[in-house]
């Protein structure tokens, strides 16, 4: 027993030593680090990878032009595995171990909400590039800077279309998280205000692949329009399965994670006739506010032979890194506090439009929200057309 304890102590001491080594020597600060947490694997993997590719393009472009503060910028990308607890772990790692002064992430609303307490704990700002839940900017976290629209903004932008599209009765199918449930709530309220009858509101697990039960139920409700909010993988399957079940209702997807190009490629004919709310229209860059920047971004994207379907996601990574870059330049130093302050005053010409922040949330602890542009497109004959 005695000898046991000794051996055991030795074993543990060895393991401890390993941990100590793991800390490693502190690397010299020869770059300006930007922490990125994105879902590179799991349910939202496709979108997370596109956003990361967009961000990498921006990194390359900025460094070619000389970087910032005389140093190159360096993206440190961590995979949050589409899971909120992992998202927290990546934030912890980026802030504590890599000592990044600013972050970008974390793609979905759930992931972003999970990370937010860490931002407050360590006083590090995060640029939120994709999430749409209202809670993110209304919960009183002064380290949140969001460039994507809230579901509420989207629903408001959509309101006039209820009448012009002739919507009488609407069903809702949303993924079971902040993103989906938030959009489902905002759009159904907007629809009600516009005098549209509400049919069924169905949800699905973010990992589900078979929606036949939900679709059969939706078909039975007899509505003329179905609002779908989820990531592009599930939209693809929903379009295909809706066609299999001869669902005649018009399908409109919200949330901007819908990549019409990918839908055309993967859902084929089933994608025809569907409508999509997007925040960037690479098919007709002239339609956006800053067509030059949009063309440049599309050019660089195609140069890398990245998937064309990823453009509508990738632009967020690009815009996000550019906003952060401007803030670091304005702050004059790579420190969290200075960057937080500088972010409030940045004005950036982005792919989505002109980016600047307004205050949202409880007084004294406001979060920053950009007012982005929203576009509705339709897929017709295997092509994206302006609406």
């Amino acid at each position: 027993m005695k000898a046991m304890t000794v051996r055991f102590a030795l074993a543990v001491a060895g393991a401890m030593l390993g941990t100590a080594l793991l800390a490693g020597p502190a690397s010299a600060q020869d770059t300006v680090k930007i922490g990125v947490t994105q879902p590179l694997t799991g349910a939202f993997a496709a979108s997370g990878n596109y956003v990361t590719e967009g961000a990498r393009l921006a990194e390359e472009e900025i460094n070619k032009a000389g970087g910032v503060l005389g140093k190159k910028i360096e993206l440190i990308v961590e995979d949050n595995k589409s899971n909120p607890t992992e998202a927290v772990a990546t934030a912890e790692k980026l802030i504590v171990k890599d000592k990044v002064p600013v972050m970008m992430g974390a793609w979905s609303s759930t992931l972003t909400l999970a990370v937010m307490p860490k931002l407050e704990e360590y006083k590090v700002p995060m640029l939120v590039e994709t999430s749409s839940s209202g809670k993110i900017t209304t919960s009183g976290n002064p380290y949140v800077f969001r460039i994507s629209p809230t579901s509420e903004m989207e629903a408001k932008a959509f309101t006039p279309l209820f009448q012009s599209l002739g919507i009488k009765k609407a069903d809702f199918l949303a993924t079971n998280n902040d993103f989906g449930l938030g959009a489902s709530k905002e759009f159904s309220e907007a629809a009600q205000r516009a005098g549209v009858e509400i049919g069924v509101k169905e949800t699905m697990d973010p990992k589900a692949t078979d929606f036949s039960a939900q679709l059969a139920k939706i078909k039975a409700s007899g509505a003329d329009t179905l609002f779908v909010t989820t990531a592009v993988e599930q939209i693809t399957l929903i379009l295909k399965q809706a066609k299999d079940q001869q669902l005649t209702a018009r399908i409109i997807t919200t949330g901007g994670s819908n990549s019409p190009d990918q839908l055309i490629a993967q859902a084929g004919e089933a994608a025809n006739g569907s409508f999509h709310l997007v925040f960037f229209t690479p098919w007709f860059p002239e339609a956006v506010k800053n067509p030059d920047i949009a063309r440049k971004f599309v050019g660089l994207w195609n140069e890398k032979k990245y998937n064309v379907g990823g453009l509508t996601e990738g632009f967020r990574g690009w815009d996000g890194v550019h906003v952060i870059f401007e803030a670091i330049r304005a702050a004059g130093k790579a420190e969290a506090e200075a960057i937080t302050k500088a972010l409030w005053d940045v004005k950036v010409k982005g792919v989505n439009g002109d980016i600047a922040f307004i205050k949202q949330g409880p007084a004294g602890k406001e979060s920053a929200q950009n007012v982005p542009s929203v576009y509705l497109v339709k897929i017709d004959g295997g092509k994206v057309v302006r609406q």
Binding site: M1, K2, A3, M4, T5, V6, R7, F8, A9, A11, V12, A13, A15, M16, G18, T19, A20, L21, L22, A23, G24, T41, D79, N83, P84, T85, V88, A89, E92, K93, V96, K97, S109, T110, L113, A114, M116, P117, N176, N177, D178, L181, D205, P206
Partner: protein, 335 residues
Amino acid sequence: MKRALTALWLLFLASIPLWLTDLYALHVLIMTGIFIIAAMSLNLLLGYTGQLSLGHVAFFGIGAYASSLVSLGFEVHLLPNWLVSLEPKPVWFAMLCGVVLAGLSGWVIGRISFKVRGAYFVIVTVSFAEVVRLIALNWVELTQGPMALNNIPALRLAIPGVVELAFLRKPANYWLTLIVAVLCYVLIRRLVHSRAGRAMVALRENEALATSVGIDVTHYLVLATVVSAAMAGAAGVLYAHYVRIVDPDVFLFIYTVTMVIMVISGGKGTQAGPIVGGLIFGLLPDLLRAAAIKPEIQWVIYGVLMILIVHFLPEGIVPAARRWWQGRVPTAVIP
């Protein structure tokens, strides 16, 4: 001599936050400690009673969710007109609730599932964990579903007007985890060196014979499950108030597997086994990450190691090392 060594050893463990300045390494140690507690609890079932429970993570998750919900408060419609609500309670009380509720669910599961053995028992326990995960995922009103429970408060202990301790920083959380781990270790040690522990081992080795000398099978299996579930719950409680976010993925099968690997590799049915296994498989992911190995490959290494251990070290590291040591230094072994 032995006492002095143990004290020295504990002192060393307790001193780590004082000299380890790398907060990330401390974070890894805390998470490892939490998983070691879970592995020790699984070992009580798997190692001592011989029941392979592959739903152990359910108790971990129930502890985490219960404690989080009691400390955050909730409002739930059980029926359309029947609203049940709970005001936020102090964290220490929530933690106790978490442990007790995990223990209670252990009692229920023990009662139900010991009707079946072998493959059926394994599948019942897997199913139980999966059902609990689906409840956590879909009972959005209570658990926030996939949105996760956020902003879980950290433990605060206060004697009003005298002293207040807030477990916000890593060293405090490390010590808390260490204290709970030592408590669990002592508890298991007492249990296995007693009448109850002998009864559990007897059931593992020869159930019919154990019954013939008057050992009540169900009683001791349920006792082991309750204690084991409560300890796993305690690990979950520590996790919830340290990480301060809980989502339905805490119920994922892979966490049960991690605990099983820790127990099997270290040596099931030995007290040091889950600790050695827990340290190896708790620290390994970060050592591999530091070596810039992709996460997928880390997991491949995990899986292959597991196969190799079962093939070549079926009893685990601790018993094998003990035998090796006995072969070398025959005088040092018998107390």
